[in-house]
């Protein structure tokens, strides 16, 4: 069953008939949040932008195929973004990612706002976050980066709310262990 608002439904119907205005509207409405999400996952603006493009091209193809999704449109977008990010991580060697990390951390370091007022720097936190399991990273980025509720995260990941809460708990505990260890 689709959980789409009436306006989303209309917009998707127009996009299905290849209305470029509707496609642009969908993009303008959702691209910034998908971009931010991908940026938080991959940590590089250029890669995040490319992947955002990939997400929306996949969305366009799915809309054209009249693919039916069983979750809300927004949740479905995040799920595609998640898959795109996972594919990206799989297709890039750890060396490439470390190089990107270096670029990003260098860019992050100078600003005073980039330093968390406390024991750990932003860079340390992000680096530790990257060491968590895929699911833990996903839950923590969606919960604390995107500010989504556990229910919304569960919808995106296709898991129960209980499973998301458990992943959140284990993720935070593992993150703390990594930062303290």
């Amino acid at each position: 069953m689709n959980s789409l608002s009436a306006s989303e439904e209309k917009l998707l119907a127009r996009a299905r008939s290849n209305d470029r205005g509707a496609i642009a509207e969908l993009y303008d409405g959702y691209a910034p949040s998908i971009y931010r999400y991908l940026y938080r996952r991959v940590g590089n603006a250029q890669v995040a932008e490319d992947l955002t493009g990939d997400v929306f091209v996949k969305v366009l193809e799915a809309i054209r195929r009249e693919q039916v999704w069983r979750i809300s449109f927004r949740a479905w977008l995040y799920r595609i973004a998640h898959n795109v990010a996972v594919d990206w991580f799989r297709s890039h060697s750890s060396d490439d990612r470390e190089a990107l990390d270096g670029l990003r951390l260098e860019a992050d370091t100078p600003g005073p706002s980039a330093i968390v007022a406390g024991a750990w720097s932003q860079a340390e936190l992000r680096s530790a976050l990257r060491k968590l399991t895929e699911n833990q990273q996903q839950v923590l980025v969606l919960r604390f980066g995107e500010g989504l509720k556990a229910r919304e995260v569960a919808e995106i990941l296709g898991k129960s709310v209980g499973a998301v809460e458990a992943l959140q708990h284990r993720g935070l505990a593992a993150l703390r262990d990594l930062l303290e260890g």
């Binding site: 642009a24 938080r40 603006a45 493009g53 054209r64 750990w120 708990h169 935070l172 505990a173 703390r176």
Partner: protein
């Protein structure tokens, strides 16, 4: 286990209410889990702040927006490989009529055998030539193994090339159906190659590349004998073969991209240098062959 679950729930309850990230507020509400809850909430607070800074998306996203709108302006040409569509949807009216003829012929088997045999020897412009092409298509689509399809496709393409020679020598025009047939055979060959198993693909590509190179050499020798009425047609056939040859070359450089594009029935995704994603997939510049000629020797 029970304690871990109640800790997970208490943590979730605190995190659902943003204000509860403050451990001094949250801990009294969950006294049983307070010692473990506090550090986790502190970590969550740090993490929230670490993930806060985000780049300015509207400025950054213009390129991918343009890319999406370009994709929207260019609807997919086809979704399944053409050879798979032959048996049903893509059969043209003429082919459907021929299918009916073949059915009748099967009923009159002895006569039909003679006709098919006669059709095999027919050339472009002959009454039975469409029957010959149709029989070939049925043979090609009926072959289940990709390597057999490749062998058949190359053999049929060789016949098409051989059929061009008498036409040029007779100063006759080349029928449009023959041009289309050559293009389709090359497409199907590439689809068949993409359908081979991973270890076989590279070898198949080299084999098809070498065969196409041989056909191109034959066609090039015919150029001198052309007349103004058939020079353009011959050039089109040569161009189709050159493009097929270039695809094999670039496919050898990036097997996975080739396989993905062709297996998805989206050859336009495997663009060659100089081709535009918004243009025809057959829109390669005519002089590109000269550019890649030095590389061909490496094959």
């Amino acid at each position: 286990m029970g304690h871990e679950r109640s800790l997970s729930r208490a943590l979730a309850a605190c995190l659902e209410r943003r204000g509860a990230l403050d451990r001094s507020v949250a801990e009294p509400q969950h006294p049983d889990c307070a010692p473990q809850l506090g550090p986790l909430l502190t970590t969550a607070a740090y993490l929230t702040r670490a993930l806060e800074p985000a780049p300015d998306p509207p400025r950054k996203l213009q390129m991918s927006r343009a890319r999406l709108l370009a994709a929207a302006a260019n609807p997919p040409r086809r979704r399944t490989p053409r050879w798979r569509q032959w048996p049903a949807a893509r059969l043209r009216l003429a082919d459907k009529l021929l299918a009916a003829v073949i059915t009748v012929l099967i009923l009159f088997a002895p006569l039909s055998r003679q006709m098919v045999s006669a059709a095999r020897d027919s050339g472009p412009g002959h009454l039975l030539y469409p029957l010959k092409l149709h029989v070939e298509r049925v043979q090609f689509s009926g072959a289940e193994q990709p390597d057999i399809r490749i062998a058949l496709g190359l053999a049929f393409l060789g016949e098409r090339v051989a059929e061009v020679q008498p036409l040029i020598e007779a100063e006759a025009t080349i029928d449009h159906a023959l041009l289309v047939e050559v293009q389709q055979l090359i497409d199907q060959l590439l689809y068949a190659v993409a359908d081979t198993s991973e270890p076989m693909m590279e070898e198949s590509l080299r084999y098809v590349a070498l065969q196409l190179q041989a056909y191109l050499a034959t066609l090039e020798t015919l150029k001198e004998a052309t007349t103004p009425s058939n020079a353009g047609d011959l050039q089109r056939i040569i161009r189709a073969c050159r493009r097929g040859h270039r695809v094999t070359y670039y496919a050898l450089l990036d097997l996975s991209a080739f396989r993905q594009a062709y297996r998805a029935g989206r050859p336009e995704r495997f663009l060659l240098p100089g081709e535009s994603p918004l243009g025809s997939i057959y829109g390669a510049p005519a002089d590109f062959y000269a550019l890649i000629k030095p590389w061909e020797n490496r094959l």
